[in-house]
């Protein structure tokens, strides 16, 4: 038991809730869904540093329209899934974990916001920028990974 605890002391923020395990072919559907997301990121110009500047300058409705209509679509979908108790394709009950509040959501949120406006990208668009051939963004992603690592190393000392 003790051993188990040291092995898995931390749950991920959005852990995989599926009981059925998936082989490499099962994983390909996530590759495909990701690819659709990547196409949208490019085609709606969400990957563009210019568009993020425009958003924070309150100079266009575009990004607000995207985020707002995405949230509304997601809300309706989650409502329907809960209301009709719709099961996954494997027949499992859909698991929706509550987000637990801590002050990190404010501190971290502010830090991420600063970075979002500098890089012009949140994590999804960073991957899209690399895919679209902006190779230098590898450096941004490597640095983001370093940021996550240092957060993990010092998280016990950070206020939350």
């Amino acid at each position: 038991m003790n051993n188990l605890q040291t092995k898995a002391p931390e749950a991920c923020e959005a852990p995989n809730s599926q009981k059925e395990s998936e082989n490499i072919f099962g994983q390909l559907k996530y590759l495909l869904l990701g690819a659709i997301f990547g196409v949208i990121f490019i085609k709606a110009e969400i990957v563009s540093w210019y568009r993020i500047q425009e958003m924070f300058l309150l100079d266009s409705f575009h990004m607000y329209g995207i985020i707002g209509s995405a949230v509304i679509t997601g809300m309706i979908s989650v409502f329907i899934i809960k209301k009709f108790n719709i099961k996954t394709v494997y027949g499992e009950k859909v698991v929706l974990k509550d987000k637990v509040y801590n002050n990190g959501q404010i501190y971290g949120g502010l830090i991420f916001g600063l970075g979002w406006a500098i890089t012009g990208a949140c994590p999804g668009p960073l991957y899209s920028q690399i895919g679209a051939g902006y190779w230098a963004i590898f450096i941004t992603v490597l640095s983001a990974i370093a940021g996550v690592w240092l957060y993990g190393k010092f998280r016990d000392k950070l206020p939350s």
Partner: protein, 188 residues
């Protein structure tokens, strides 16, 4: 039809499609939408050290790595085969901002004066890629999610901590854009 595909997609097409990622992931695999976690999985996979935060079964979360590789792949396909031949259309205030910052008018989705390969070793590269990327990685993990995990997934599930996080993202972005970037651009 093809013309519709190559033109930039309006918000009312892109937004609902992104929103549909939430039920698609839930129903296909009981997965909650989230992207920044992939960075943590890379740490857990490659450099877990002896750090508690990275000692978990990342293989169980492998779907997330397939998902972000897919994002890169989709972006490659869209940028290669569905590219918009016209330059990006921006608001007047944004265009005035570019001039003020000494950046040229947009010719592609990204200002290469900031994000080109030739900038990697420059002060611009240090700020816009290294520092910016660090803030994105550190901040998203500290906040427990990014625009996908909190703003889209969290708000879809009516989670108020995600609303707090989203408001914080926006405040951080507004402070950087309005107060700090004008100072940063004076360095170049």
């Amino acid at each position: 039809m093809f013309e519709f595909l190559t033109k930039p997609w309006p918000w009312y097409v892109a937004g609902p499609l992104i929103g549909l990622m939430v039920p698609a992931l839930l129903l296909l695999g009981n997965k909650s939408l989230g992207i920044s976690s992939s960075l943590r999985h890379v740490c857990a996979m490659c450099v877990p050290g002896n750090i508690k935060f990275f000692n978990y079964d990342w293989k169980k979360e492998a779907w997330n790595l397939f998902y972000v590789v897919g994002i890169g792949l989709g972006a490659y396909l869209a940028a290669t085969y569905l590219a918009n031949p016209e330059p990006i259309q921006l608001g007047d205030k944004t265009l005035a901002r570019l001039t003020e910052f000494g950046l040229s008018a947009p010719t592609s989705l990204q200002p290469m004066e900031l994000f080109g390969l030739d900038q990697v070793l420059s002060l611009k590269g240090l700020i816009f890629m290294v520092v910016g990327g660090f803030l994105v990685g550190f901040g998203t993990r500290y906040a427990g999610g990014c625009t996908s995990g909190h703003t889209i997934m969290g708000l879809s599930n009516l989670q108020w901590p995600s609303l707090v996080a989203t408001i914080s993202f926006m405040i951080g972005g507004l402070v950087m854009t309005h107060l700090l970037l004008p100072q940063i651009f004076k360095l170049f």
